[in-house]
Symmetry: C2
Subunit: 488 residues, 2 copies
């Protein structure tokens, strides 16, 4: 196995020598071609993914569209070219006491990247997902360790990517796929001296383990593990008074979306006690009772969900609001519980994510308790605020302070559903991710795989085109402190 991995990493390093200097149009062609190949798989892909995940085929129609949109977004980003953040400071020969040199900097790719996909999104967050796409866009070769929960889907999509690499005349080492259920393979890859970075989506234990392996290396490398969170939602009174039925519907749908297997699943709802909250709680329980139960991604996840729910039901102060008896024990039905703020604050285990269609309502005695609960959270992918304009104005300072621990702050909507755009942050302070300074979704995800290099007094012919006076790509650059698309 070691020999095989060595050969794979060597191929990736060799491919890097070619790929890192490939121009944006070549990478755009590659990403567009991958999208085309994935679309070409059509029903075969949806069916395979559905069989391996217990999720409906229509879900994969949507996920394929999202994945291909993402591929094309990054294709357009690198074809346009300004993402390299070119900065030019021209020389000043007459400066005293020393001449000012000509300095030009831009971002360059790091090297081979290893990607570990997520089980819950076998397309958008796995083999052909955001990590692979953003790394290829940056000019880094990718080695995917296929997820053992969807090996056939992973292989199908990997073959599509390899076909696109080949069709674009790029070296095979630009993209490689390893299928293994061995934990050691992951460790060997992360600790391989030829690997320059790692992307992971999954559990806290898995993501943190990979991070620690990378820190034990002689040369530490960045590991971007997106590990999920409980995504607290704060519900203010007037919003519940005005629109309890709408919010109950929205959150029942958000809690059960994808059988609760979204990393942005709203696992905790927080509010000050009121009759409006009681009303909302009843309506939410009713809405949950109307949802169908489905099988989870695989037996291990189902078992963890069942165990997690059973355990929490016995925690001090937990009151069951909705917990249907499911006749088919293979199906996961939603569970809603309630707890007082005091019991919640005393029990840190209630802050841990239960992966599945589960949520806790935390009832606070007053605004001070709400504040204390809200500020007690460790790093989160999202925080959501449900409130009327009056609610939000009244609590402006409190809400503002929640950006301390979240990557995204959602107003009057569900946290589930992560838009793929230039403004996306799908990240957040630890333990939501291992590095809250980056996003794993949206165009800035490319910034995880690069570093800046500065050329000082370089002859023009040695400069990357992005830094040449003529600006042949017409990209945006910062020239002597001012943004411009012009040549020098």
């Amino acid at each position: 196995m070691i020999n095989e991995i060595n050969a794979i990493v060597q191929d990736a390093q060799d491919a890097f020598e070619v790929f890192r200097n490939s121009d944006g149009l070549i990478r755009k062609n590659l990403l567009y071609k991958i999208a085309e190949e994935l679309e070409g798989l059509g029903e075969k892909l949806w069916k395979t993914a559905s069989e391996e995940t217990n999720l409906p085929m229509v879900r994969f129609q949507g996920e394929t569209a999202r994945t291909c949109f993402q591929l094309r977004l990054f294709g357009d980003l690198v074809a346009e070219g300004s993402w390299v953040q070119a900065v030019i400071e021209t020389a000043d020969e007459d400066r005293k006491p020393l001449r000012k040199p000509d300095m030009r900097k831009m971002l360059v790719p790091l090297g081979p990247i290893v990607v570990f996909g997520a089980s819950n999104f076998p397309l958008a967050y796995s083999t052909p997902g955001g990590d692979t796409t953003s790394a290829l866009a940056s000019g880094c070769p990718v080695i995917v360790k296929g997820h053992p929960a969807h090996p056939r889907t992973s292989q199908l999509t990997a073959d599509a990517i390899s076909a696109a690499v080949s069709a674009c005349g790029l070296p095979e080492g630009v993209f490689q796929h390893i299928m293994s259920s061995s934990f050691d393979v992951g460790k060997i890859l992360v600790q391989h001296p030829g690997v320059s970075g790692v992307g992971f989506t999954g559990s806290l234990s898995g993501g943190k383990a990979l991070y620690d392996y990378a820190q034990q290396r002689e040369v530490p490398i960045p590991v971007f593990s997106e590990m999920g969170s409980v995504n607290p939602v704060v519900l203010f009174k007037n919003a519940l008074l005005d629109q309890a039925p709408e919010w109950a519907k929205t959150f029942a749908s958000s809690i059960t979306m994808g059988v609760g297997q979204f990393c942005t699943n709203p696992g905790i709802l927080i509010s000050v006690k009121s009759s409006a909250l009681n009303h909302f709680t009843s309506l939410l329980a009713l809405e949950l009772s109307l949802t169908k139960s489905y099988k989870m991604l695989h037996q291990g996840i189902h078992d963890n969900y069942t165990k997690g729910v059973e355990k929490i039901l016995f925690e001090k102060g937990i009151e069951t609001i909705y917990h249907a008896h499911e006749s088919d024990e293979n199906l996961a039905s939603p569970v809603l519980v309630r707890v007082s703020a005091q019991d919640f604050l005393r029990n840190p285990s209630l802050r841990e994510e239960i992966f599945g269609p589960f949520s806790i309502i935390i009832v606070c005695e007053n605004q001070d308790e709400l504040k204390e609960v809200w500020q007690s959270f460790p790093g989160q992918l999202t925080t959501t605020v449900i409130g009327t304009e009056e609610d939000i104005r009244t609590n402006q300072e409190l809400i503002e302070s929640c950006c301390r621990f979240s990557g995204r702050i959602v107003f009057n909507g569900a946290p589930t559903g992560v838009e793929v755009s230039h403004a996306t942050v799908h990240g957040g302070p630890f333990p939501a991710t291992t590095d809250g300074r980056f996003t794993s979704v949206g165009s800035d995800a490319i910034l995880r795989w690069v570093r800046p290099v500065c050329w000082q007094d370089s002859p023009s012919f040695m400069l990357p085109v992005s830094l040449q006076n003529e600006n042949p790509l017409g990209i945006w650059r910062k020239i002597n402190g001012h943004f411009s698309q012009s040549p020098l």
Copy 2:
């Protein structure tokens, strides 16, 4: 001591609540005021620094100017405001199958930052240096652990910064200074849960230790250690044929600048054997013999230099070119040695930095050996190329590949002297730094202390001004994929 540190960190956290939302003009005023206070210290500061470092007073006149230039550069950067990288994607209510939400992101400060300054630049890279300046600019409070090698200089400059903080009406916790020679204090600070990031300039062992402490925390935090390197210089034949005397002068000066105590000191010179190289070598030895010897920063550094030189003189194949007998054993005189490429490649210890006025010339049999030597280096702050246009054109591919391990590539100049500008990269892959994705000098140094946050469907009054439709600051933003300074 623990109680004292807890109180200091608590003050920093409290100050963060105010400081993180302070606007750019307030931070500019602070940074300008610090510069004014430092300038106001005048000769008193230069004299103190000179006494504590054995470096001449005129050096601190220059270093004060550099430090104040740096403070004002960051002041201007944050007053202008575009550095927050605002990105706006407006909503599309009609998008199918789901509406597109309004998403707006920008960079926000991380929290209290601990700074460990360098002994070799008690102003520009220490208490009032680039780490402190860039962190304050970003909106992060700073706790400096003063360097034990220049305690009085550190205290003087810390008092100047505190006076500026106070004059600007900001909380005292925005800047705090701890003077302690205890190693434990550093560890406690880095592992304190209230600390969000660390800046360090110094040795590999010190920088890596702090990095490891930070990784052992329950919540890992970024540590930016700039640890120096040997800064290889490749000399091509025609350049030596044409200008051997000029290059000998330039490198004699670069090797001995600040008694060789620059992290960009050219510790290794590489060339293919030629009579031109022999000529250059003799001239360089001559130039070194004409330089005066000076005392190093402190006795510990002097002892390490002496030991390092003594050790390397006994390594296999090392030939002494210049090694004066210094009558005063407290003075450090320059040392130049020579070794064959083969002996160099066989002995990894020759790649380690000897901090002081020392350099090795590596003589290669041919171009292939030169390539092998050049590519054998671990991460470096800089690589320098000395060559005529013909030399560079002939070796274009080889030179291009050197960006694999360097943060800055210098053409026909000395690596010593790091320009403070928007295009600066003072960084490089490990072991030059613990994180080659960032720079510790130049305006992008601010990016070490921030993370992105996204506001989704936020009411306008909850958005930071940088993200509001009206764009009251007139900053550059990326709006629906296009750069613009306009309001929405």
